[in-house]
Amino acid sequence: MNREELKAVLVELLTGVAPDVDPAALLPGVDFRDQFDFDSMDTLNFAIAMHQSLGVNVPETDYAKLASLDKCVAYLELRQG
């Protein structure tokens, strides 16, 4: 999966948890929490969705690394080596 495909999957998972997010208006470099209401329960559900769909188990201590789309991509690329 290349970076653009990965981003598309992440946006799909994100909008599954928070469908109020408009993918077209999503700013990849800005934290989700500063763009729309995204609380810690949303983050938990987002991480569960990532595990189910991408097979990546994100430990709770890494949730801060999922704060924005760019951070998610960087984190996953690092995890997948």
Binding site: T15, A18, P19, D20, R33, D37, D39, L44, E60
Partner: protein
């Protein structure tokens, strides 16, 4: 699994506790003595004076009052003298804007200094502080500002644009909005004033208004099963309860470094996240960021927190992250851990010992009670899973409602947790709704709506809610408010909202919707309804899950039977169905 009681030995406590002997303290308790307040001349009492002014004029003037932690943990410190000067400016600015005694000043701002300064400044001016949770969506914000009759709102430019600007026409009483600019020099939204500029003019100090103990100081909104949110009014005398209970149940003492993780958008974040620690003259931490295990451990260790007050959802999330991150630090200063918001499961109580060498002490109270009513104390045997025993000075009982009023339940029998009227932080009533206030009382007893039982030694154990209100992540959510928002979606004919068990949040909000003819259930529609609910209500209140139902169970009078929905969802006995409409 049974959890053994945790015995306390005085030689193992890291500091001699304020409450040394529970029974002795109960036998000769005096609220005024326990609160150790100063008061104002002529029997006047003002929370701002007790929390800030008296310390700023005394030995604590140059002591740190609040340390605000920014994104990179950079601290911004306010001494008690700084806090007095800053809150004087807020009070003076509010008076210049025409805010009179008893008028409401609201905040929607997250854990930034301006919210704390506004809380104290508003009370200093004799106005009433009305905090709103910043993760609320526009609909809960509109309802609370309107019901509360807010005259001034303090918020950020970002939150204003996203959530408030479109509501202004619907809120004719909201005269002034003061905004914090997120970036210096950024454009001010039309119809607002700059918070810092509004404060700049006043540097001449401010004489704290001599409010009476019974004058309203705080207005907190809470949720009921039906109808509009309830505005819970508290008077300045509540500070007697805040200060006394913080000394007894949280064991706050001189020199403590205290961290309450609650947001001022909820009652804990005001009673114990602003007023009580300042009234006790300790130093408190405020972290503006959201929950993050590594960050939290770094704060507990790095700031040398001695007393920590947090919530079950956060503790369970820390448990999920495992012991390893906790053990990367040591916590030599930490001496007391407390939890509130929903019952703390015994596993979490005991986990505190593994992670920090200290158990978590659960306690129980509500928006209406204003302060902690039932607690576990550092000196008292702790029974994991129990909320503890009533605060000295509080008479609690388990009662059953009958045709002839209320009667006490037998030991071990489930009934409604009730409190004998007369504690100082008891609410004044619900704003503009005397009928609803009266319904909470049976004679002298305040009935809490929480079901509990009491064991043979006087420990109270939470059983559940007596009504349909949902407690998710410690926040009380009204199914009615969520259903009303769902019904505004074009496809939704009926909605029933319940709480389902969630391993982390205690309960999660789940909605069942019945569609109007012509709409078809499917993933796209599910997402659209969820998006609609989140936009109106905000993430904290909106359902986490939506399911479609062909027909929701109703009573013959047409009322959705939430209890039956819940029983069916969880596979519980369905109970008495005699009022059920045929076919549901």
């Amino acid at each position: 699994m049974q959890f053994a009681p945790i015995q306390k030995r005085s030689d193992q406590l890291r500091r001699a506790p304020n409450l040394e002997d529970y029974a002795a303290s109960r036998s000769c308790f005096d609220w005024q003595a326990a609160a150790a307040l100063e008061g104002l001349p002529g029997g006047s009492l003002n929370i701002a004076h007790e929390a800030v002014d008296r310390h700023a004029r005394g030995a604590r003037a140059s002591q740190r009052a609040i340390r605000f932690l920014g994104a990179d943990l950079a601290p911004a410190d306010y001494t008690y003298a700084d806090l007095k000067a800053a809150t004087d400016r807020v009070a003076a600015a509010l008076v210049r804007l025409g805010v009179g005694p008893g008028e409401r000043v609201a905040t929607l701002a997250g854990r930034v200094p301006a919210q704390y300064l506004t809380a104290i400044g508003a009370m200093k001016a004799g106005a009433v502080f009305l905090p709103l949770f910043s993760a609320f969506g526009p609909e809960p914000i509109r309802a609370r500002l309107e019901l509360g009759g807010a005259r001034v709102l303090v918020t950020t430019d970002l939150l204003y644009r996203r959530k408030v600007a479109a509501l202004r026409e619907a809120l004719p009483l909201l005269e002034h909005v003061l905004v914090l600019r997120t970036a210096p020099g950024s454009e001010l939204p039309p119809g607002t004033l700059d918070f810092d500029e509004a404060l700049a003019a006043g540097d001449g100090g401010f004489e704290t208004r001599r409010t009476r103990p019974g004058d309203m100081a705080l207005l907190h909104f809470t949720s009921g099963t039906t109808g509009l949110p309830k505005g819970v009014m508290h008077a300045h005398r509540a500070v007697i309860g805040h200060a006394a209970t913080a000394r007894l149940a949280l064991d706050l003492q001189d020199g403590d470094l205290y961290w309450c993780t609650a947001d001022p958008g909820w009652v804990t974040g005001v009673s114990y996240g602003i007023i009580a620690p300042l009234a006790c003259g300790v130093t408190m931490i405020v972290d503006r960021e959201e929950f993050d295990p590594e960050r939290w451990y770094a704060i507990l260790a790095g700031e040398q927190v001695s007393v920590w007050y947090t919530a079950p959802t956060a503790i369970r999330m820390l448990m999920k992250a495992g012991l390893e991150p906790a053990r990367r630090h040591t916590y030599p200063a930490l001496r007391h851990l407390a939890s509130v918001g929903e019952p703390l499961n015994p596993e979490a109580v005991v986990w505190g010992v593994e992670a920090f060498g200290l158990p978590f002490h659960d306690n129980w109270w509500q928006t209406e009670t204003g302060a902690i009513m039932v607690a576990n104390y550092p000196s008292m045997e702790l029974r994991p899973g129990s909320m503890g025993r009533p605060v000295p000075g509080v008479e609690a009982a388990v009662l059953k409602r009958g045709a002839e009023g209320v009667e006490p339940a037998a030991t071990g029998e489930v009934g409604e947790l009730a409190l004998k009227s007369g504690w100082p932080s008891m609410f004044m009533g619900y704003l503009g709704d005397e009928a609803r206030t009266r319904k909470c009382f049976a004679g002298d007893w305040y009935l809490s709506g929480d079901l509990a039982r009491m064991d043979e030694d006087g420990y109270f154990w939470f059983v559940g809610r007596a009504d349909d209100v949902i407690k998710a992540a410690g926040h009380l959510i009204s199914p009615f408010e969520v259903e009303s928002a769902l019904l505004r979606h074009a496809a939704v004919a009926q909605a029933g909202v319940i709480g389902i068990p969630d391993p982390v949040a205690g309960s999660a909000v789940k909605a069942f919707v019945e569609l109007k003819p012509g709409f078809e259930a499917g993933e796209a529609l599910r997402r659209d309804i969820l998006a609609h609910a989140r936009r109106l209500l905000g993430a904290a209140v909106a359902p986490r899950e939506i399911a479609f139902a062909a027909q929701l169970p109703r009573t013959r009078s047409g009322k959705i039977m939430r209890r039956l929905l819940r029983a069916r969802e969880l596979g519980l006995p369905e109970g008495d169905l005699s009022t059920l409409e045929a076919g549901a």
